[in-house]
């Protein structure tokens, strides 16, 4: 087991290193750099940046140096914990990410728990009540939610909430709580109300695959010999269900739960932008548009590391739940 974990971690580190190179290169691919975007944006608002100012800005940001030097400087600083400076926000990248992280984690955690709980529960229900009205209804809702683009769904819901429930769901807090620093019950409830929208949008899209996988795997299991035997022997339906078949069916879901770790941090970018939620997703999006390379690069590195760590955790979790994997390794 230990051997298994060590190997996984080693692969993880190698993948991570390659990822930093790839992400840095990709961010540099669009023509121009932060400065061209910045100057173009200033022109848009009526300020002319003459060549002299452009030159001094370029020097200031260190954009006059070749790409690989920029990359090495960035990597060197990162190993010291300094993720570089964001050009657009004039703040250290670590500060920017830290500003948004707590809220992002909380929002994602709430949405995800909701998603998984609902998905698995409905999946089990669908499998045990195959072809019933309930089964069909849930499937239709799930697929509709998946098919409708998130941003469209979010906008429509936002409008419906405003028009018929007189509730402005934009942003994370209502006006009166925006400047209130301390958390209170009122503020928390207000936040949950705003999050309801995000949960519905993300939930309907995300549950579709959970339901179908759960349903499919469980149906496979429920058709097997041992289940029929257990029933014949008089085991209660509920105990039977959760003792073995669900544990097997949940296998694919658990193995992919690790990927969700990075999702927890990136926070569903499109839905966040549309609903105005201050998560890391929109930050990454605007950083990419602006070619704010250190911010974009660092966020991507963080997301990649979390994905890798998450997958490692998944693997370990799987090995723990599913003894077959443990034995498979022992045989090597």
């Amino acid at each position: 087991m230990l051997h298994y974990i060590m190997r996984r971690l080693l692969y993880g580190i190698i993948v991570l290193f390659l990822m930093t190179i790839v992400s840095f290169v990709i961010i540099q691919l669009p023509p121009g750099d932060y400065l061209t975007t910045y100057i173009a944006q200033l022109s848009r608002s009526g300020q002319v940046v003459d060549k002299a100012q452009a030159l001094s800005l370029r020097k200031q940001y260190g954009l006059d140096q070749p790409v690989y030097i920029q990359y090495f400087k960035w990597m060197r600083e990162m190993l010291h914990g300094n993720f570089g400076m964001s050009f657009a926000w004039n703040k250290p990248v670590t500060e920017l990410i830290a500003e948004r992280l707590p809220l992002t984690i909380m929002i994602s955690f709430l949405t995800l728990s909701f998603l998984y709980a609902m998905g698995i529960a409905i999946g089990i229900y669908s499998a045990t009540h195959q072809y019933s009205v309930g089964d069909y209804t849930f499937t239709v809702i799930g697929f509709a939610g998946l098919a409708i683009p998130n941003f469209l769904f979010a906008l429509v819901l936002m409008f419906i909430f405003y028009k018929y429930f007189d509730f402005n769901a934009a942003g994370l807090f209502s006006k009166q709580y925006l400047l209130q620093e301390a958390w209170s019950l009122g503020k928390f409830v207000d936040m949950l109300k705003h999050l309801l929208l995000a949960m519905i949008v993300v939930g309907t899209a995300g549950t579709a695959w959970l339901i179908r996988i759960m349903r499919g795997c469980l149906l496979d299991e429920l058709g097997k010999q041992y289940v029929i035997t257990a029933r014949a022997k008089g085991v209660e339906e509920r105990t039977l269900l959760f003792k073995y078949p669900v544990r097997v069916a949940i296998n694919p879901i658990v193995s992919t739960i690790g990927w969700e770790l990075s999702y927890v941090i990136s926070g569903q970018a499109i839905t966040s932008i549309v609903l105005g939620l201050p998560t890391v997703g929109p930050l990454l999006y605007s950083a990419l548009l602006n070619q704010d390379m250190y911010l974009a690069g660092s966020v991507i590195v963080v997301l990649c590391s979390l994905t890798v760590i998450g997958t490692v955790i998944s693997d370990i979790l799987l090995a723990w739940i599913d003894p077959r994997i443990r034995f498979e390794n022992k045989r090597d």
């Binding site: 669009p30 023509p31 121009g32 750099d33 061209t36 975007t37 910045y38 100057i39 173009a40 944006q41 200033l42 022109s43 848009r44 608002s45 009526g46 300020q47 002319v48 940046v49 003459d50 060549k51 002299a52 100012q53 030159l55 001094s56 020097k59 200031q60 260190g62 600083e77 300094n82 400076m85 657009a88 926000w89 004039n90 703040k91 250290p92 920017l96 500003e99 948004r100 906008l155 936002m158 405003y162 402005n168 934009a170 942003g171 209502s174 006006k175 925006l178 400047l179 549309v274 609903l275 105005g276 201050p278 930050l283 605007s286 548009l289 070619q291």
Partner: protein, 639 residues
């Protein structure tokens, strides 16, 4: 039906706005003496905001009489004396780059483009235009209480502008005569800018670029990071995670800005403006009143009235949602949102004002005159071609479709309030005359094809022009293909993203570019509307500019008619007195109207401002969205 209703409503509002702007006055008196002279009244007692009173009582701040400078400014509120308190939730144009604040410039312009002395008290310009002496307010203080003196201006010029690490190349206006200007301290509250030769432009140096820079810097705060004052500045920078002292310095030297770059402002840096930045994250920006702000209203109340302003960086639908539900106190949006805004006036409890924006041409159309392809080159450079294309633009149609008929069809030229302005420039080839356009194109020899649908180039290929621009200009260009089809020119539209657009604009390969030409709020000084030949917005003469800048080494020599532009421009920049300024300026704008390197369409485009009904003293007649910051000291919430 709705549309008709809207047009009536809007025209009604415009008339009302027009009438009120004729009647409305904006009074800022640079000193108490001026106020007394103009009105015969005086101000003896002062009062301050309750939140500051408590601090004074607790001994954290000196009393208001000591905080105000000896020579404070007097502002007469537009509607009435205001009440203290409140938080302003605002949404001023959506990109974070524009969210900003007033740093407290030395001078500014009022809505009628008259000069106002803001942080400075007054100035004197010598008759030979060699010196400009700026008088500062005695007792003026930074937002942290430290005194503001001439040292701060000298520090800005000598230690920042002239320092090669911080500013590799000095701003053009400060060296237009060939030698950099000198900035001398006469005494604590007097500064003189001196030029070796007569330089009419000396008037403009602290007015222009006001959106981008303040012409001073807090020496007491910044000197710690400057190598001249702190020999250990490089070590200090390294401690803070930078490589060189000037990086740490620039990181800190970020004042509030009325234009782009507002999201970079440094909350720790003191300011002279009415509000100081106290919090800036990537999610929101909070400004709080500056306890040392140096202006009062006519009853002696220290301004501003509002305690705090709050900006959360939202865009698009969210921002609109907040406006119509009444969660935003002040917002600026575009004409396209007008129907939705007018529908929700009752529910959101706000009022909508339409004001004239500062655009001189939206969109502007620029043909690349130094394009490499020889066939295109010949066509674009033919003056008849450009005139024909200008005559073929149905400006009124675009006006109705995108601006509800509120903008003004006009050629690209300076603002009408500018001293140089001449009506004939705005009208040059700006009428809609497709027949004449057709005649001109026939004259050039661009024949029609067999089906008489499209014209052909001299080499037989179809005359297909590619227009490249950025996404927000597209709605205004969409009508052009149909309009130009009538004269047989096929126009293709292409949207590019930032980086790619800049690359194309600089590559000398593009045919036609569309952009927006702005006039900014310092327009009285800098007429604007002068399309730069190698800028990203209007690249009409890239190679010519290269030739000119490199002294003939690179690029391509411009033809004689184009050489005139560079000649006039240089002479204009170096004007020694008003007569020369007017003469060369007129020649320059004449040249533009004659040769049309850039074709304009619509100017004075409308902006929509939304203000909650309890927010008072909001102007109905500002020009451009940058002037919002200038009104804020008098805004208040009426309880």
């Amino acid at each position: 039906m709705i549309r008709k209703l809207m047009v009536i409503l809007v025209s009604g509002m415009m008339c009302f706005a027009g009438v009120t702007s004729a009647l409305a006055e904006y009074h800022v008196y640079s000193t108490l003496a001026e106020y007394e002279k103009a009105t015969g009244k005086t101000i003896e007692k002062f009062s301050e905001a309750p939140m500051l009173k408590t601090k004074v009582a607790a001994g954290l701040l000196p009393p208001v009489e000591e905080r105000l400078p000896e020579e404070f400014c007097v502002i007469e509120p537009e509607e009435e004396i205001g009440q203290y308190g409140g938080v302003l939730f605002q949404d001023i144009p959506s990109t974070p780059e524009v969210a900003a604040g007033d740093p407290g410039h030395l001078i500014r312009l009022d809505p009628k483009n008259n000069l106002i002395f803001w942080a400075a008290k007054g100035w004197e310009i010598s008759k030979d235009y060699r010196d400009i002496t700026i008088y500062l307010r005695k007792g003026l203080r930074w937002s942290d209480g430290a005194p503001f003196t001439a040292d701060d201006i000298v520090f800005w010029y000598e230690d920042i502008m002239l320092n090669k690490d911080l500013t590799p190349v000095l701003l053009y206006d400060w060296r237009a005569t060939g030698e950099p200007l000198e900035v001398k301290k006469i005494d604590d509250y007097t500064v003189r800018i001196h030029s070796g030769v007569s330089y009419y432009g000396i008037k403009f140096v602290i007015g222009k670029d006001a959106l981008a820079i303040t012409h001073y810097a807090p020496k007491h705060y910044l000197k710690k990071w400057h190598i001249k004052y702190n020999p250990e500045a490089n070590e200090l920078a390294k401690e803070e995670g930078f490589e060189y002292w000037w990086q740490a310095f620039q990181f800190r030297n970020k004042p509030l800005r009325m234009g782009g770059g507002g999201t970079q402002a440094n909350p720790e840096m003191p300011t002279l403006g009415p509000f100081k930045l106290i919090e800036r994250t990537s999610v929101r920006m909070v400004l709080e009143r500056n306890p040392y702000f140096w202006a009062v209203d006519t009853a002696g109340n220290q301004l501003p009235y509002i305690d705090r302003t709050f900006d959360s960086f939202e865009s698009g639908e969210i921002a609109l949602m907040k406006v119509i539900s009444g969660d935003t106190d002040y917002a600026i949006t575009e004409v396209t949102e007008l129907p939705l805004l007018l529908e929700n006036v009752e529910q959101g409890d706000y009022r909508v004002n339409i004001i004239l924006g500062g655009e001189l041409a939206w969109p502007s159309l620029t043909f690349n005159l130094t394009i490499e392809d020889p066939v295109w080159r010949k066509i674009f450079r033919d003056i008849r071609f450009r005139r024909a294309m200008s005559l073929a633009v149905d400006r009124e149609e675009i006006n109705q479709a995108t601006y509800v008929g509120l903008a003004k069809p006009s050629q690209v030229t300076c603002r009408d309030i500018n001293s140089l302005y001449q009506e004939r420039w705005a009208r040059a080839y700006a009428e809609y005359d497709p027949q004449r356009a057709n005649m001109l194109l026939d004259e050039i020899g661009l024949k029609w094809d067999k089906d008489h649908k499209w014209r052909l180039r001299p080499d037989g290929k179809p005359l297909t022009i590619l227009l490249e621009t950025m996404e927000w200009n597209m709605p205004y260009c969409e009508l052009l293909p149909a309009q130009w089809e009538k004269i047989g020119v096929k126009l293709l539209l292409k949207t590019l993203e930032w980086g790619l657009y800049v690359e194309r604009a600089q590559s000398n390969q593009g045919h036609l570019f569309a952009w927006t030409i702005h006039a900014d709020n310092t327009d009285k000084f800098f007429p604007g509307g002068l399309a730069i030949p190698d800028g990203n917005d209007t690249p009409w003469g890239l190679l010519w500019t290269q030739w000119y800048d490199s002294g003939g080494e690179k690029g391509e020599e411009p033809p004689d008619w184009a050489k005139e532009f560079f000649e006039f421009r240089e002479k204009w920049a170096k004007s020694k007195n008003e007569e020369e300024y007017l003469r060369w300026g007129t020649k320059l704008y004449d040249w533009f109207a004659e040769y049309l390197p850039v074709i304009g369409s619509l100017g004075y485009t409308p902006l929509v401002c939304v203000a909650k009904n309890d927010l008072r003293n909001v102007w109905k007649f500002n020009i451009g969205y940058f002037s919002v910051e200038l009104q804020k000291p008098q805004w208040f919430f009426k309880k």
